[in-house]
Structures are given as structure tokens and as C-alpha cells.
Amino acid sequence: MIRPEEIKMSAEETGKWGMVMDQDICTGCQACVVACAMENNITFVGEEDSGYGRSMHWIRIERFWEGEYPEVKMTPNQPMLCQQCGSATCEPVCPAFATVHSQAEQLNLQVYNRCVGTRYCANNCPYQVRSFNWRDYERPEPLSNQFNPDVTVRRRGVMEKCTFCIQRIHKAQDKAKSEGREVVDGEFTTACAQACPASAITFGRVDDPESLVSQLAKKRGHGIKHLEELGTLPNVTYFKGG
């Protein structure tokens, strides 16, 4: 009989990069969503497609309703993005190894150029955070001048998702290496965390007990990891607060 702790131990990942979401202070202002789109060259899809579940947001803010008027309440805003699972369900199902686990960074990679577009990963993602390039969405000149040269521009038929701003991770590591030091906690952060006016998103090393994410997680007590019961070992912790 294997006990759950053992499963966790035997799963190869303890996580490296992680995020803490403070739902109590998330105001749902959508700054993270645009910041992410601008940083990662995410395309907009227009009214019809966005209303048909084809919007490409890598991060979305979920809110539900509780109760009936006048006792109605908005549930705490829940920013939902790729949870960078330690044992991701998207990874094994890709026939082309286009979504693979990065051994070096402990992230779920999406290798755009290897993707053939079977969309199995998206079906199998319990968080439904993958977006597919349904078309070559037009970004007329000169809008394309804004593209971030560090991030590949995707075309039709390719799956994409939140990368935890891996380009920023690489850049910070490269910089640190060129200066002969380690990356310092807080030296860089993801686009969403950087923009968040309420500082509801914190990003950092979860394997470093001294980092801000680890400290926050410790201080706030038990956070929720969504759908943890599936054994996905997500690396994003949510605090409902209140």
C-alpha cells in the first residue's frame, strides 16, 4: 500500500518556480491579462471568436455568484493560469513531445514548433488553461511593432499556454551568470505579477524556503491548490482569505 506522501515523493517534481495568488485582494482589474498579452505576443481574436470560447488569454479571472439578490455575493476573483504541474496531465498525451516537462526549470513547456495541433493536451488539462491558435489572427501593421522579440509569434494550428514568462527566467539567469552570481529572489518576476496593482500575484522559487512565495505561503497558512486530488502537483497556490 503506497501512502499519498510517498506518491508525492516519488513523483519526480517538487517544483522550482511557483506562484501565490491572493484572491482576497485580487480586484479582477485585468491588468495581468493585458500585461501577459503584451509580454507574450498573445493575439486578440475579435468579438465573434472571443464569444465562442476562442479567446487566447493565458490567464483569466474567474468569478462566480453566490446567493440571490440582495444577498448576492461575487466569489473571490480567481486568476486561472497554467499551474505548471509537477505531474501534468497534458504532457503524456502529446504524441509529438510538443508539451514536455522541463527538467531544468521544472516547468511545463509548450514547444510551438513541435506542435502538430492534436489538442489532446488541452482536453486533458483539468484547468482548461490552454489556448489554441484557431486561425492566423490578423494583427495589422503597425501593431506588430510591439511584439516581444524574446517570444515566438505563434501561427494557426499551434497550442499555447502560460510559460511563467520563461523568457524572463532565462534573461535573469543569463544576467546573473554573466555577473557570476545566482538569481536573487525578486530580481525579476512574471509580467502578470509585475503589473498587478494589488500585488495579489507573487512569483518566485518554491524550492527556496527563504523566497517571498515560500514565506507568503507559510504565513498565510493553508492555501488551496486546485484539483490537487488529481495528483497533478500544481505549483500555484491560492489563498481565498476573508
Binding site: S102, E105, L107, L109, Y112, D150, T152, V153, T163
Partner: protein
């Protein structure tokens, strides 16, 4: 009528004619496709050889290689700094486009030689810092006139070297063959 045509085509001469026609169509198509794959000509037949022979270091003109992802093409001002002191600049046919560009203030349009696809995030700095020399990838410029790639920069080329460099160091190998190291 058509039957006669078919009959004619069936005889050896006809078969040869058909063959030649097919070959011609195929060649034209192949040539057309190959045209799309050919790089345009460089605006200046830049002699790397000569510059290297003068003892100019690669990093003098391409300093970005040591600092960041892109090695860069030197600004025209950099070319001109030396060339306006060289008498030959006035007369050389080869250098006319440079002179023209400097006078008109229009940049020369160089054609990139060493290219990786845009889904590859390549960083020169890391490679130079790891002790790689320019010629390991770009070939010996002291023997080249107009730069040409000594090899195709495909994933096999990258990986071969990465694996070799990593050797038995598992941690290094993990980093160097990780998809996310180059593709994001």
C-alpha cells in the same frame, strides 16, 4: 484525331517528347522554388578576409556577441570611421555603396547569413562565455570573402555540440538538451 495523337505519343519518339516536356516542367518548377530559397545579394561584397588580415577582431564590429543575444551588424558610422581615412574608399568600386549610404543617410540593407528560425531563441553571450569561438559556428573568416555559412544551423548541429560540451555532467546535460532552453 485524338487517337492518332495518342498513337504518336506511344511510339519511342513520342515517349521521349513526353519525357522531355515533363522534365522541362519539373525543372522550371524546381528552379522557381529554389529561387524563393535564395538569399538576395549583399549590398557590398564585404571581404571578411581582408578585415581579419588587418587584425581586426570579430568583436570589434560585432560587439553584441559578447554582451547579449545578437552579435549585430556594425553601424555605418563604425565603417566610416576607418574608411573615410582610407584613400581607396574614394576610388574603390566595391566601396561605392558604402559611400553612397553614408552620404544619403540611407542604411545599407545587409542580408543575414547566419540565421536560425524565429522559434529558436539563440543567445550569443552564453556561447561566448562558455568559451566557444566564433569560427566554431561561423567558420574561419580569414579564409572567406563574402560570409557564407559553413554548415546549416539546424537542431542537430546545436544538439551535437551541446551533448559534447555537457559530457558526463548530468546537470549540464539536462539544461543543455532541455527544449525550453531554446524554444519558447
Amino acid at each position: 484525331m485524338i487517337k492518332r495523337l495518342f498513337d504518336w505519343l506511344r511510339q519511342p519518339l513520342g515517349l521521349i517528347a513526353v519525357g522531355i516536356t515533363l522534365l522541362a516542367v519539373f525543372s522550371v518548377a524546381a528552379y522557381g522554388i529554389s529561387l524563393t530559397q535564395q538569399a538576395p545579394e549583399q549590398p557590398v561584397q564585404f571581404p571578411h578576409q581582408t578585415h581579419v588580415a588587418f587584425g581586426i577582431q570579430c568583436l570589434y564590429c560585432h560587439p553584441g556577441a559578447a554582451k547579449g543575444p545578437s552579435a549585430g551588424i556594425p553601424a555605418q558610422a563604425k565603417c566610416w570611421a576607418c574608411h573615410n581615412q582610407i584613400a581607396k574608399t574614394e576610388t574603390s568600386l566595391l566601396l561605392a555603396p558604402l559611400k553612397q549610404a553614408v552620404i544619403s543617410g540611407k542604411p545599407l540593407e545587409w542580408v543575414p547569413v547566419a540565421q536560425v528560425p524565429d522559434f529558436v531563441q539563440f543567445n550569443h553571450r552564453a556561447h561566448i562565455a562558455a568559451g566557444q569561438n566564433c569560427e566554431n559556428c561561423h567558420g574561419d573568416m580569414s579564409k572567406q570573402n563574402v560570409a557564407e555559412n559553413p554548415q546549416v544551423f539546424n537542431m542537430g548541429f546545436c544538439l551535437d555540440c551541446h551533448k559534447q560540451v555537457a559530457g558526463d555532467d548530468h546537470e549540464k546535460l539536462v539544461k543543455l538538451v532541455d527544449c525550453g532552453t531554446c524554444h519558447y
